[in-house]
């Protein structure tokens, strides 16, 4: 009941013309930077900070938050249309989203991305509103062993990303894990695999690898043949440009999956939204009735990760607003912004400034609606990009890739890496090595190794710490189950076959 009163207070704050205007500006800007690869919310928010000093803080945070979750809406656009991940979390969307576009279903893919983002985003806000304090307290119980178990759980998803050859999938994963080790070791400050270069001290940027392996490689593969003028068939008529009712029905589980997985993983400091999209995708595939179709253009394969990366933003706001702990780059800047405006982020923030918190929460509901309204009609517009003749599109994709990579750290070295990974991606495609496990390995490798070593530091070298702590034991068992599930289904199929043969 109290929540409802507070929410009404929030809406009274959020529905003022000024706040509505800046909310719109925020989500619009967010969508734009989400669409463009390389440019992300952290840099944009940091750039706009001085501007916000002249605004009312509640208005300012409404706008900045709008940029944050708006970017997650936009990130799927280039992933689906061009196989260029617009944002690191959108990498997973490339897997099925781009395949859907190739089959002429770009419209429904874009549409379901928007709809799933809306549903999961809204559910995330509801969760933020209702269960923040207990969830935050629960998240505090996550220590390195639990983080390791979570990452290990994420890694078992490779089982679902491997495709035909498990050996090749595992080899890809190993390469990805190796790429993650490059750079300075956090614990001993020793440099690993840096080849003596200063640029390699921080390792290779994930976005460079993903844009190279997905986008550039795709262009190279298509360059093999001189083709026709149009890239993919773009179906005409509005009906074919949006998801059908059947599509929506198919995604029921995905919406829920994305929301829950995204929100809870978002709450944990240090776990990024890329992790939540991978795990959500894996879970979707694990519980799907047609898992073998994933990777060929299945709509749930777009709905789940897109939902996850949106619910993730609400989740990551939980530790920020309830405890004053930033869980990601963007929330770290938001924390700095709050301090700049004179607030004291910490457990007392919500109590002392109810209009800030509830105004923000209410604005997030409104923002998600705005984004849905903004994005859905844009779907047919964006889909028209595919009408461009492919000889115009491919250079553009290469250009966008270069720009996207260069804006990350203004380094030509990164662009060289892009070229290298583009070739690698092409070779992997020709040799039928799946790219997703490599990306997964790279995303998780860092965190997993770190969490393991931290855990062992905590336990003085006893590996048992992973199994004696309840949460990590549960997560590891889940991981084991997921690893064994394909085996179980294989056994079941084998048994069915055997029974079937007996019956003959």
């Amino acid at each position: 009941m109290e929540a409802l009163n507070n929410l009404l207070l929030g809406f009274s704050v959020a529905l003022t013309p000024g706040n509505l205007f800046w909310c719109f500006i925020g989500v619009f800007l967010g969508t734009v930077i989400g669409v463009l690869p390389g440019l992300g919310p952290p840099a944009t928010i940091a750039m706009l900070l001085p501007l916000t000093l002249k605004m009312d803080p509640t208005t300012a945070i409404i706008m900045l938050a709008g940029i944050y979750y708006g970017a997650k809406y936009g990130g799927s656009t280039t992933s689906i249309l061009l196989n260029v991940p617009g944002e690191s979390a959108s990498v997973v969307t490339c897997l099925d989203g781009y395949q859907m576009a190739r089959k002429g279903r770009a419209g429904p893919a874009l549409g379901i991305a928007a709809i799933s983002s809306f549903i999961a985003g809204t559910i995330g806000v509801v969760a933020l509103m209702l269960i923040s304090p207990p969830v935050a307290r629960f998240a505090l119980r996550f220590a390195p062993p639990e983080h390791f178990a979570l990452m290990a759980l994420g890694l078992t998803m490779v089982v679902y990303l491997a495709g035909k050859s498990m050996i090749k999938g595992l080899l890809s994963t190993l390469v990805g894990l190796w790429l993650a080790t490059m750079g300075i070791d956090l614990f001993t400050a020793e440099a690993r695999f840096t080849f003596g270069r200063t640029e390699m001290l921080d390792g290779i940027d994930f976005i460079v690898v993903s844009i190279g392996i997905f986008a550039v490689a795709e262009v190279l593969v298509n360059m093999e043949s001189q083709g026709g003028t149009e890239l993919f068939k773009v179906p005409k008529g509005l009906r074919n440009l949006l998801p059908t009712l059947q599509d929506l029905k198919d995604c029921r589980f995905a919406f829920l999956n994305g929301s829950i997985v995204g929100f809870f993983i978002g709450v944990l400091p240090g776990a990024g939204s890329t992790v939540s999209s991978f795990i959500s995708y894996g879970i979707e595939k694990a519980f799907s009735r047609h898992p073998e179709k994933f990777g060929t253009g299945v709509i749930e394969g777009v709905a789940a990760p897109e939902g996850a990366n949106n619910a993730d933003t609400s989740g990551s706001l939980v530790p920020l607003l309830t405890l004053g702990i930033p869980g990601s780059n963007t929330t770290a800047i938001l924390l700095a912004a709050l301090i700049l405006w004179g607030f004291r982020p910490g457990p007392l923030l919500i109590q002392e400034n109810p209009q800030l918190f509830w105004g923000l929460v209410a604005s997030m509901y409104i923002g998600n609606v705005m984004l849905l309204i903004l994005n859905l009609p844009l779907v047919p517009l964006f889909a028209q990009i595919l009408r461009l003749p492919y000889y115009a599109l491919y250079p553009a994709i290469l250009g966008i890739s270069i720009v996207g990579v260069y804006t990350v750290s203004n380094s030509i070295f990164d662009v060289w890496m892009l070229g290298f990974f583009g070739l690698l991606g092409y070779v992997m495609r020709k040799l039928e090595f799946p790219p997703a496990p490599l990306i997964l390995g790279m995303v998780l490798g860092d965190g997993m190794e770190r969490a393991l070593r931290q855990s062992l530091m905590m336990s003085q070298g006893q590996l048992s710490i992973l199994f004696t702590r309840p949460i990590s034991a549960v997560l590891l068992s889940l991981g084991l189950i997921i690893l064994l599930m394909p085996l179980v289904s294989k056994v079941r199929t084998w048994r069915m076959k055997a029974i079937g043969q007996e019956a003959l």
Binding site: L170, V175, T181, E224, Q226, V415
Partner: protein, 150 residues
Amino acid sequence: MEKGDVVAATVLAGLGIFIIRQSIQLNYMSEYGPGPGFLPLWLGVGLIALSLPLVYFAIRTPRKSDLEKASWRSRGRALAAWLGFMVAIVLLKSLGFILSFTLLTLFLVLAMDRRSPLTAVSVAVGGALGFYLIFALSLGVSLPVSPWGF
């Protein structure tokens, strides 16, 4: 036999050996647990271990239909495109993004796709202009610039 897989397995095994050699130079174990050399070492071992079954299966699998000639031609095209891309990257520092992009587009449309020069130029110029307007002007994104300022 599936030649491609054998080559891949060999390369990966070689990578595994390289990684192991580098990891030995790092500390395997540190104060309380694995040191920086621990994980890479096992990754190297894993790579070598998994390349073996890969070779085994590759030798055992019958080769798919004979597309050798055609596929080398198409691979050549892809590699040419890649080389064009790399040249563009080399030129980034000296010519700036806009010009390198224009040259790359001209190369891809004219040489690779054999379209008319008019098409090539219009796509190249149109694309470059688009990039300039969207990224350089509106968003103020800093891109490598040519000596002539754009």
